[in-house]
Symmetry: none
Subunit: 220 residues, 4 copies
DNA sequence: AATGAATGAGGGTTCATTCAT
DNA sequence: AATGAATGAACCCTCATTCAT
């Protein structure tokens, strides 16, 4: 009763060392499971638990990602990409420029961008080409949102993308442990307060200098 | 036989088991080392490393604190107490009420209040009498600062102590790993932006409800 | 160690998680090594030593048995099962009923039934279904031997299975430490003396009440 | 190095350092506490617990006994001495010789002679002069009881003191763990059965050879 | 390619023993 | 002499990673 299933894929031409369909599915499941479990249990969650959530054996995880940093690398790419999507759609779909910024900031919570912070700071290779590309795309998307708000005169002019991203990353970071049931309620309050601080006119003079995402790579 | 039991010391209030001088010194070294290493490496830092930093053997740590939660408990008390000190001196020494608030918020960074966040959420006993007392003292001190600013018409009226404390805790949380050399530079920018958002008049309506520190115990 | 999928295997009764051949071999080696080392060094023998004896890494032991109680549980099952075997073959192969009892008692030494005593009394779950089943099988097998001897008029009538099992367990318990080279020589003498005390007619009146194995679970 | 038994009476002249009265009291408290806690929790009980029970600091224990084996040595002497007392009074106070043996055997339970077994087998120096003396006294006392029973024709002739002592030691050994609430009830049943096996005429031929206490030292 | 199993290194904790008061 | 405190070694157990099926 062992019907031949996947082998019948003749006709597929792979100009690259293409992943088999099931392997690709596993890979994406693993990244999704890693994002969720790291948000839920912290970045130190056992890799076996991630594999279990993804419904694959632990060795399969290692076939796809050599070690934890590499897995984190790909989770980071995933989160950055989805966050850039949010920025783009916020800009496209909101008529008011500052309202687009508000929408983006609150939407970033759902993408668990707060999980990025633990992820970025470990032993990750911050100069990896894919990461640079993802960072540039994210920066461009967020800069577009901020630029529109700035151009409309509603956003103070002494801040840059890095300032915004670090702040919302910090404000949305999950608490260690897992007890944060109603925590999101606070998060949105704090984001709102922070957004109020971003509005023009500036109510105080900021210390330090405006930061881009690229600055974060080197500085923090 | 000159056996005079130590607790029979007269005059002094001896409700404590009377630590020997060197033991007390070790105890305080351990708490300080724990605060610093947890800020630097996260709350999962090996206890052996904390003991090493404190310059004592690992078992000495266990003599003073039965396990990690108990150590965290005492670090939390220490941070809360020192932070309350900061609030009190800010209020006492600044003539302008909102300026006192600004000073307190920026000073809290030095007390590593960001370390409180990981500490509060773990398996700590949030109802411990000492913790309740520390919380009440901290809340009173911060409320005094905020109340003065509110009374002077400079602080928006829709926020409470819990909102402030959680936000600055999150904004000042250290990055995992240890690479955060220039990170403080950003922290003070973000706190400044957040403070600008706190100023009256309120620029937007906040979601959720104002929170006290006691709410945090139950909610988050 | 609960496989979810493997049960779908057809034909064979697959209530077990389907261990791989080498894993099953390791598991049995571990139980054997545990029985021997616990007999030799007592029930507190380091688990690392057991793993070493079994020729596997320490973590392999933990893969199979979550902790010491679980390992002890399985050692107990093993000893009980093998002891029941002894009772059954003694009854089947000896023509004289009391001689069957003698043979069983002396044979139990070789099965290290003395190891059962330390094992039964610790933090083991005495109500585990497997243990109940093993206890019932052992009780039935020993009761068959005793019943035959009783029916033949050679065994005193005021004792039950629990009395016999506890006594031989105690008499055959290994000495702590490891010096018991010639100890078995004494053991067989004492068992013989005890068996003489079991013969009918009873030479004295016994205190207390006859005990089944189930009584031991609750009483001792 | 050891102070001889505490009964350093006047005849012995002070070749020993002459313990102060309170030190002597501590020493005896420690031995008593050790006997009790080892019976209750097994011979591996933490020395700190013994010191706590004795109401002294842990270092005081070490002042009196260099290490665990030395403490065990003295506990053993104590138990042997008290057991010899029991043999002597049984012989003196019972008119029937075999009844004196029964009384001694059941009385030995109260002296926790079963705790001797773990104690004897560890790293104890079995050739220590004090231990030899205690052994000889115990052997003489028990041999007197057995001899009387033998002479009266009620005790089988193929057993010696070692056989009896080992058997009752084993039969009365406490179970590891501490759950043995009603265990004594069984102990007396088994001792009674064993005593029945000791009665003349012998009902079977014993394997091995009769053992003295001195044999145990070398053989087991 | 996928997986269950194996493993060594490392952290948490206890405890026998030594040290300083 | 007595004691509270300190300590390192050893044990239990987990987990990232590798191996064999």
């Amino acid at each position: 009763m062992t019907a031949v299933v996947a082998c019948a894929k003749s006709g597929k031409k792979g100009q690259q060392p293409r992943l088999r369909a099931d392997a690709l599915r596993n890979r994406e499941r693993l990244i999704a499971a890693a994002r969720e479990t790291m948000v839920e249990f912290g970045p130190e969650v056992p890799l076996d638990e991630i594999a279990r959530r993804a419904g694959v054996g632990n060795a399969t995880l290692y076939r796809h990602f050599a070690d934890r940093p590499e897995l984190i690398h790909h989770v980071t790419l995933s989160v950055m990409s989805r966050t850039a999507d949010r920025a783009e759609s916020a800009l496209a779909e909101e008529s008011d420029a500052f309202q687009a910024l508000r929408r983006f900031v609150h939407a970033a919570v759902e993408e668990r961008i707060g999980a990025l912070c633990p992820l970025l700071s470990d032993g990750v290779d911050r100069d990896h080409p894919d990461l640079i590309a993802a960072r540039e795309r994210l920066e461009a998307a967020v800069e577009a949102v901020m630029g529109a708000a700035r151009d409309s005169g509603q956003l103070r002019t002494d801040i840059a993308v890095g300032d915004l991203m670090v702040a919302i990353t910090q404000l949305t970071r999950p608490l260690p442990g897992n007890s944060c049931t109603n925590f999101d309620q606070f998060v949105h309050r704090h984001l709102q307060l922070f957004l109020d601080g971003l509005q023009a006119p500036a109510r105080s003079e900021l210390p330090g200098a405006a930061a881009t995402l690229d600055d974060l790579r080197r500085r923090s």
